[in-house]
């Protein structure tokens, strides 16, 4: 039995095709309404509202994992395709710039923030996992503080042991001056986000500076410290990228909620005052 993960090209195109079809039908519909002197914004608005409601349903679906609804993967796929569809429908509905009122402007800005954050999030979700896998370690986000603390403790006990066994404090002093900073918490966040090697370079630099002042015995300790620093570097990398994977939702979801609230009010106003 072959297990296929994800969606094949055909399936993806099928979804995209369906979305395009809906867009096309709506577009034709608005043209037809326009030419019979109707208010086409009502048609495109309702379709857009439907699509937005469907997008919002994804959040509800996530709260109901025990219900026999379609797999989340399909929902995500539809959410993605639907998100782009909503963007096009929004353009159809408002001519891209939204209405000129304060309300319309706020709604437009929030809608774009939601859309753009969604696109960025999608991009990250498709790119970052692979990078994380390549790092060679795997760690649960919530365990990173504990892991870093454990590494720090280990490094510190190594330093103490070195001082005790060798009797010199060269390594300890250097540690306190430089590496101690590194082991306190995740460092080089931005550099890690952009896949830089600053972290590795920095640690190596600190060790190289020290190396010629150390005895053979001390060097052994330094090597161990270095390997722990390497371990922490990978965890830092995970921290940086996993933070990205989690924090983009801090923008997307609250904004989406605000958009939803505003859309409902918009709908009420239209129903009361216009239709």
């Amino acid at each position: 039995m072959k297990i296929q993960q994800g969606f094949s090209l055909v399936q993806v195109w099928r979804y995209v095709g369906l979305a395009s079809l809906l867009l096309l039908v709506t577009w034709q519909w608005t043209i037809q309404i326009d030419s019979s002197l109707g208010i086409s914004a009502l048609a495109s608005g309702w379709v857009l509202f439907g699509v937005l409601a469907f997008l919002a349903l994804f959040s509800i679906r996530k709260r109901l994992p025990f219900m026999p609804l379609a797999p989340s993967a399909i929902w995500f796929m539809l959410h993605t395709v639907g998100g782009f569809l909503a963007l096009f429908l929004f353009w159809l509905h408002t001519d891209a710039m939204g209405s000129k009122g304060f309300y319309g402007q706020v709604l437009t800005i929030l809608f774009y923030i939601t859309s753009i954050s969604g696109v960025i999030g999608l991009f990250m979700e498709k790119v970052i996992p692979r990078q994380l896998t390549c790092s060679g370690v795997e760690i649960i986000y919530e365990r990173i503080p504990g892991e870093i603390a454990a590494i720090r403790e280990e490094v510190e006990s190594l330093i103490l042991k070195c001082t005790e066994e060798v009797g010199t404090s060269t390594l300890a002093e250097h540690y306190l001056e430089t590496l101690n900073w590194y082991f306190q918490k995740p460092r080089f966040f931005l550099n890690n986000v952009f896949g830089g090697h600053l972290s590795q370079h920095w640690v190596r630099q600190q060790c190289m500076i020290l190396e010629r002042f150390l005895s053979e015995k001390e060097r052994e300790f330094l090597d161990k410290v270095y390997s722990l620093a390497e371990k922490k570097r990978k965890i830092d990398f995970h921290y940086a990228l996993q933070t990205l994977l989690k924090t983009w939702l801090l923008v997307h979801i609250p904004m989406a909620a605000a958009v939803t609230a505003m859309v409902i009010w918009h709908l009420i106003l239209i129903m009361v005052f216009f239709v």
């Binding site: 039995m1 072959k2 297990i3 296929q4 993960q5 994800g6 969606f7 094949s8 090209l9 993806v12 996530k62 709260r63 109901l64 994992p65 025990f66 219900m67 026999p68 609804l69 797999p71 989340s72 993967a73 929902w75 995500f76 796929m77 993605t80 979700e125 498709k126 970052i128 996992p129 692979r130 994380l132 896998t133 795997e138 760690i139 649960i140 986000y141 996993q242 994977l245 989690k246």
Partner: protein, 573 residues
């Protein structure tokens, strides 16, 4: 740091019965079944008395106590010393009576209700509803608890039963064959039983003619025919021919019965060398002398490649190998030797059907009629081609399977496999799991990884569920419907046997709390009450495994490695 030293663990460091005395042993020797054993045949390091003292124990059962439950996995056999027992015949007792959890799928509304009824505090148990707790009572002899039946006359009334009297031996097939108990046996009157664990039983079979004959005969009589009958190549045989095949079949046992206990202690490095230590069942290049059937356990199929062995696949219960080679040899093809090496993975019991019998009953049939020939040729060619496919596979293609075999993940039928290239670490699976289990996750999204594949710490619902061996109350059991391994929280006494037995650490003990969130402790010693928890494959949920359904990126699958070939999708969606 203080250096801790430990003596090399010896056999019988931990005796089976804690309270067995020499007097008990002497008394046992007066029973005819024991006295018939020739004590002199036993070697010094493993004397009869030693076995009786360390690998056996005398247990007293009160009327109504369940001795063995249908569906349980056990590692011991019982000899009735005194009293009378009842075997419940088909259809058997309902699960609740045995202290099992009945899986009832939730209704749509019940499922939906979980949205607000799931608890915010972890591991809350409803202490007021004792429910099935009353089924559990302490049995002093075991130092633990037992499940008992409450209304024996009614059970006798409603069910067909058979009696077991003094001197009866039962449970030995399940113990040696690692198969589930086929029926429930309970004490009709107060009874005294000798329980012999599988190690002792194995020695009895090895050194005593009488016991071996008894055990083998029982196996041949009860299980072998059914096993052969269920094997596709023998399905055409009539009863008489089948009996002839059965009579000629050889039993072979490879590896250690309790491999899982030592397996976890091995370092990673040793594991990769494991193949060298595995008992060889058949060697590549050797002349094939019969068809090999796996009775229980797993066998690794590998070939020599370079300086090492490449694992091609593995054989599980019901699989067989070798028909193709002997068939070709029988047809006159010279230079037909085994193309692969077969080794036991941990523990394997094999059946070897000798070539002569195969030729007589199988090949003769294959070449007799048109239909038989077609079937035979097809069988042979399919088998050959499949094996050739495995051999032709590149190292990269086979690497995942090899790793899975190495890590014994092949045991699992529902291993949680996560593609870390797709996983965005959102923990939706964990949250879904907890939502489906009253606010408690039942797996951890960590685990061994190979390339981008992670087998997460979730119960794999093994084909050979070693966790179930030794559960004193039968709380952990295999569901009759669906085959998943389930723990009945109500009858779980928190003894950790299962958690310690699971080679994959997929069972976790949790301290339970009351409604308010306080830990529930044992009033006698203030120790927190523990419960064993693990994935139940969302047995009572209508959605199926919530974790898989909740994954927005389709990164997770529950897989059986043998049946699975992972095909990564290139679209990324």
């Amino acid at each position: 740091m203080a250096i801790t030293t430990q003596e090399r663990p010896q056999r019988w460091d931990q005796p089976f019965g804690l309270f067995m005395t020499d007097q008990d042993v002497d008394r046992l020797l007066t029973f005819p079944e024991i006295s018939a054993i020739e004590e002199s045949k036993f070697p010094a390091h493993c004397s009869l008395k030693g076995i009786l003292k360390n690998d056996a124990r005398v247990i007293k059962y009160s009327a109504g106590d369940i001795v063995i439950r249908e569906g349980d996995y056990g590692n011991s056999a019982f000899l009735v010393l005194d009293g009378s027992l009842k075997v419940v015949l088909f259809p058997g007792l309902p699960g609740e009576m045995l202290g099992r959890r009945t899986i009832r799928k939730k209704t749509l509304w019940q499922a939906f209700k979980q949205l607000w009824t799931q608890r915010k505090t972890p591991e809350v148990r409803d202490v007021k509803s004792q429910g099935q707790h009353s089924l559990v009572r302490a049995t002093e002899a075991l130092g633990s608890s037992q499940v008992f039946l409450q209304d024996v006359p009614a059970i006798l009334d409603k069910n067909k039963t058979a009696s077991l009297g003094k001197g009866a031996l039962f449970g030995e097939l399940a113990a040696l064959g690692r198969t589930p108990r086929t029926s429930t046996i309970f004490a009709e009157t107060d009874a005294e039983l000798l329980e012999i664990r599988w190690q002792g039983l194995r020695e009895f079979r090895k050194y005593d003619q009488g016991w071996r004959r008894l055990i083998d005969q029982r196996y041949r009589a009860n299980a072998l025919n059914a096993h052969l009958r269920a094997t596709s190549i023998f399905s055409h045989l009539d009863d008489k021919d089948l009996q002839e095949v059965a009579d000629a079949t050889l039993f072979e046992t490879y590896g250690k019965f309790d491999w899982h206990l030592t397996y976890n202690k091995l370092q990673t490095k040793e594991k990769t060398l494991g193949i060298k230590d595995e008992p060889i069942i058949a060697q590549q290049g050797d002349y094939s002398d019969g068809i090999l059937l796996v009775r229980t356990g797993f066998a690794r199929v590998s070939i020599d490649r370079g300086n090492g062995q490449q694992t091609l696949t593995y054989l599980g219960t019901g699989d067989f190998y070798g028909a193709d080679e002997i068939f070709r040899a029988w047809q006159g093809d010279s230079n037909v030797s085994l193309r692969v090496t077969i080794t036991a993975l941990g523990y394997a019991e094999m059946l070897r059907v000798p070539s002569k019998i195969v030729e007589k009953h199988l090949f003769a049939y294959w070449s007799s009629g048109r239909e038989g020939f077609r079937k035979g040729a097809l069988q042979s060619s399919v088998e050959s081609r499949r094996m050739q496919d495995y051999i032709d596979r590149t190292l990269t293609d086979g690497a995942l399977l090899e790793w899975a075999v190495e890590e014994r993940f092949v045991n699992g039928t529902q291993a949680m496999l996560i593609n870390m290239d797709r996983c965005v670490r959102c923990d939706d699976c964990v949250r879904a799991c907890s939502a489906a289990h009253d606010g408690n996750p039942r797996f951890i999204r960590h685990g061994k990884t190979f390339e981008n594949w992670m087998v997460a710490n979730a119960c794999m619902h093994c084909a050979d569920p070693v966790c179930m061996i030794g559960c004193p109350t039968g709380a952990i059991h295999r569901s009759m419907s669906g085959g998943m391994v389930i723990i009945n929280d109500d009858t779980c006494i928190g003894c950790e046997t299962c958690a310690n037995s699971c080679p994959y650490s997929n069972i976790r003990m949790v301290s339970i709390r009351d409604d308010v969130g306080n830990f529930i402790t044992d009033p006698q010693n203030q120790k927190p009450i523990l419960k064993a928890t693990k994935c139940d494959l969302c047995a009572d949920q209508i959605s199926g495994p919530a974790c898989v359904f909740a994954c927005p990126h389709d990164a997770m699958r529950r897989v059986d490695f043998r049946e699975t070939e992972l095909d990564e999708n290139t679209t990324g969606f």
